[in-house]
Symmetry: C2
Subunit: 347 residues, 2 copies
DNA sequence: GGTGTTTTGAGGTGCGCAACTCATTTTGAG
DNA sequence: CTCAAAATGAGTTGCGCACCTCAAAACACC
C-alpha cells in the first residue's frame, strides 16, 4: 500500500520571501506588469518554478472581482447540432453562475463571411473570450486576429480557421471522420460488390469537403473494387435529399451502401425505407439526434459518426476559462473524439 | 443577433435581507446546522431557490481553508489500464494543487474482498472522498456503506458495487460493451459462415462476465447462424492466452472471428499472426494501449472497444469534488462512453 | 408570573490574492 | 557628483464566504 501526497500549499508570501523580494514585485511579475528589472523577473519566475507554485485559483478568482464574459457566436438557423450545443451550455448555467461566469449567445449568419467578420468586430473589448463557429475566409481570419490582438481569447468551434491566430480549436478532424466512414462502409458491406452512394450538403462547406476527401481516400486505397457513384448535393435539406436518393435508388438497383456526409438524414432514410431497401443497404450518417437515434434502433441506420456536442460546449467554456486564467489546458481532456455510434453503444 | 445574459451575482447578504433573517441564519440553513425552526429553514431555502442563488465557489473554497483529501484505491498489480488512470491523475497535479486538492493513491489487492474491505476501513475519517476499483462482495459492500455513513463521499471506479450506497459509479455498462462487441463481430464477418472464438480472463470477474453475457445475447438473437465456440479463460496473461488461442486455431481452421474480453491481447495477437491468419480473422478486443494501437494500425486488430481512462480519472475527481461541495453533478459530462476505436478514429 | 430552552441576530476574523497608492531605494545618464 | 527615471518595498483594501462567539429575543412550560 504505497502513498504519495501532493505537495503542501505555498502562498505568494512564501515565494516573495524565498526570492528575496516584496509581494508587490511578485505580483508585478505574475501579471506581466511593467517596472521590474529583467533579472529580478527571472529570479522570481525561477522561484515559482522551483517550488511548482500554483496560485490558489479560488483566491485569485475572488480577489479579481469582475465576472468573466464569454460570447458564443453561433449560426442563427435551425441546425439541430448547434441547438444541442446551445442546450448543453444552458445545462451549465448553475456551474457557470457559481463561478461568476457569463456566457452569451450571439446568433448570426456564420455562412456570410462579411456578416460574420462584422459581428466579430462588434465583440471586441466587451468579452474576455469568444467561441465562434467560423467559416474559413480571409475576412473572418482577419477579424479573429483582431480579437486576439485586442487581448480576447478566441476558440474556433466545430469548424476551424487554422490560418488564424485563434488560441484553440474545439472540434474533430473531419478528414479522419470521413476516413472512418469509408472504412466502415468497406468493412460492413463484406464480400458484396456493388455501388456506393454518397450525398453531402454542399462540397463548398469545409467540413463536408474534408469528410468527402477522407472518404474517397480510403475507398480508393483500400476498397477500390467498390464502385463509387458521383457525389450528390442535398443542401442539408430533407426533401431535396429524399428526392435525389429516391431517383438514385431507382436508377441503380445494385447500390449496397450509402454515406450521408451532412444533414438531411431524415430525408435520406425516408427514401431508403420507402423503396423497401432500408435494411439491405449499409447506411452511415453523421451526428446523434433524436432522429438518428431512432434510425439506429430500428436498423435503418447502421452507424452514426458523431462528435459529442455536450463535450464541445463544455470544452469550449473550459478552454476559454483556462486561457483567461493563464492556466495550462488539459489537452487530452479537450481533445474531441470521433464517436462511432451503433445501436448497442448509444449513450 | 439575439443575446441572453446569465443573471447577475447575488450574495448571501442579499438572500439574508430578502428572507428577512440574519446572515448567521442563512449560514445555518446552508450548512444544515441545527437550531433553526423548520419554517424559517423553508423560508430561506425558498428565497435561495427563487433567486437561483449559487454561492460563489471561489469564496466558499477560500473561506473553508482546509485542503480536501481524496484517496484512489487501485489494484497493486501491473494492469496497464489502471496504470493509465494513475498516469492521467498525475497529469492533473497542477490542476489539483491550484485548487488545493490532494489525491493519494492507495494500492491494494482489490481482488481479495477481505483485504479490500480492511483497506477501506483504514481510510475512514481521513478523507473527504474515496474512489475505489471495487470487487462486488458483501464485505466490500459493508465497508463502502461504513465510509458513506461516516460522511465520506464514495465513487466506484471501472467496476461497480450497485448494491452498496456509493454515491456514484464512474465506468461503462459492460453488458452494453459486450453487446457492442457481438454486433461488430456479426457485422464485420459479413456473409461468411464459420466459428467464433471467445477468450476472457476469467468468468468470475464481474466485468468479464457481463461482457460475455452481452456478447452471447447478441450472437444468439441476431447471428444465430454463426457457431460460437466454448469460452476460453486466459487469466489475462499473454503467454497463457497465446497458447490457448494457438491450439484453438490449429483445431478449427474455420474460425472467422475472435473476441478477447479481457487483457492478454498481445498474446492473442501473437498467436494470430504466427499462424498467418491475422488479417483474415476478425479480431476484436478491449482497451486502447500502446499495444492495441499498434495492432489496429497494422490491421491485426479490427476494433478496440474502450473506455477512456483519462475521462474516468478526471470524472472521478470532479464527481468527488462536486459531492464534497454539495454541487450538482453534470450527468452527461460524467457519463463514460463505450468507445469504438478503429484505425481511422484513433485519438 | 417566572424559568429554562430554543431560536435568532450581530459581529468579528481570516482565507490568498488582485489591484492599487505612495514612499523609498537603486540605477543610469550627463 | 547630481538629478531624474526606473525599480522596488511596504502597506491597504476588499472580494464572498465559513466558522465562531456571545448576547438578545422568542418561545414553551409550569
Amino acid at each position: 500500500m504505497a502513498e504519495e501526497t501532493v505537495s503542501a500549499a505555498l502562498t505568494l508570501k512564501d515565494i516573495a520571501r524565498e526570492a528575496g523580494v516584496s509581494l508587490a514585485t511578485v505580483d508585478r511579475v505574475l501579471h506581466n506588469r511593467p517596472g521590474v528589472r529583467s533579472d529580478t523577473v527571472r529570479r522570481v519566475q525561477e522561484t515559482i518554478a522551483r517550488n511548482a507554485f500554483q496560485p490558489h485559483v479560488a483566491a485569485a478568482e475572488l480577489a479579481r472581482g469582475r465576472v468573466r464574459r464569454f460570447a458564443f457566436v453561433m449560426p442563427s438557423g435551425a441546425n439541430p447540432f448547434m441547438q444541442q450545443i446551445e442546450a448543453y451550455l444552458g445545462e451549465m448555467s448553475g456551474w457557470l453562475s457559481a463561478r461568476r461566469l457569463s456566457v452569451e449567445m450571439v446568433n448570426t449568419d456564420v455562412f456570410d463571411p462579411s456578416v460574420l467578420a462584422a459581428t466579430l468586430e462588434t465583440l471586441s473589448g466587451d468579452y474576455d473570450g469568444v467561441a465562434v463557429v467560423a467559416l474559413d475566409h480571409p475576412g473572418v481570419r482577419a477579424a479573429i486576429n483582431d480579437l486576439v490582438d485586442a487581448g480576447t481569447k478566441v476558440v474556433t468551434l466545430v469548424s476551424d480557421v487554422p490560418s488564424s491566430r485563434r488560441h484553440h480549436y474545439v472540434g474533430i478532424d473531419n478528414i479522419a471522420a470521413g476516413r472512418t466512414a469509408g472504412a466502415l462502409v468497406g468493412r460492413l458491406v463484406g464480400q458484396k460488390s456493388g455501388k456506393i452512394a454518397i450525398i453531402a450538403g454542399s462540397r463548398g462547406l469545409r467540413d463536408h469537403a474534408e469528410r468527402i476527401f477522407g472518404f474517397n481516400q480510403v475507398m480508393a486505397s483500400e476498397f477500390s473494387h467498390l464502385d463509387l457513384l458521383p457525389l450528390l448535393e442535398g443542401r442539408d435539406e430533407d426533401d431535396r435529399s429524399e428526392q435525389l436518393i429516391s431517383r438514385l435508388l431507382g436508377k441503380h438497383p445494385d447500390i449496397i451502401a450509402l454515406y450521408n456526409v451532412g444533414a438531411g438524414t431524415q430525408g435520406v432514410a425516408k427514401a431508403l425505407t420507402e423503396t423497401g431497401r432500408g435494411k439491405q443497404i449499409v447506411f452511415i450518417a453523421h451526428d446523434l439526434t433524436a432522429m438518428t437515434r431512432k434510425l439506429l434502433l430500428q436498423g435503418t441506420l447502421d452507424v452514426a459518426i458523431s462528435q459529442n456536442p455536450g463535450h464541445e460546449a463544455r470544452s469550449a467554456v473550459r478552454v476559454l476559462l483556462s486561457l483567461a486564467r493563464n492556466e495550462p489546458i488539459l489537452s487530452e481532456q479537450e481533445n474531441i473524439r470521433i464517436d462511432i455510434l451503433m445501436r448497442d453503444n448509444l449513450p
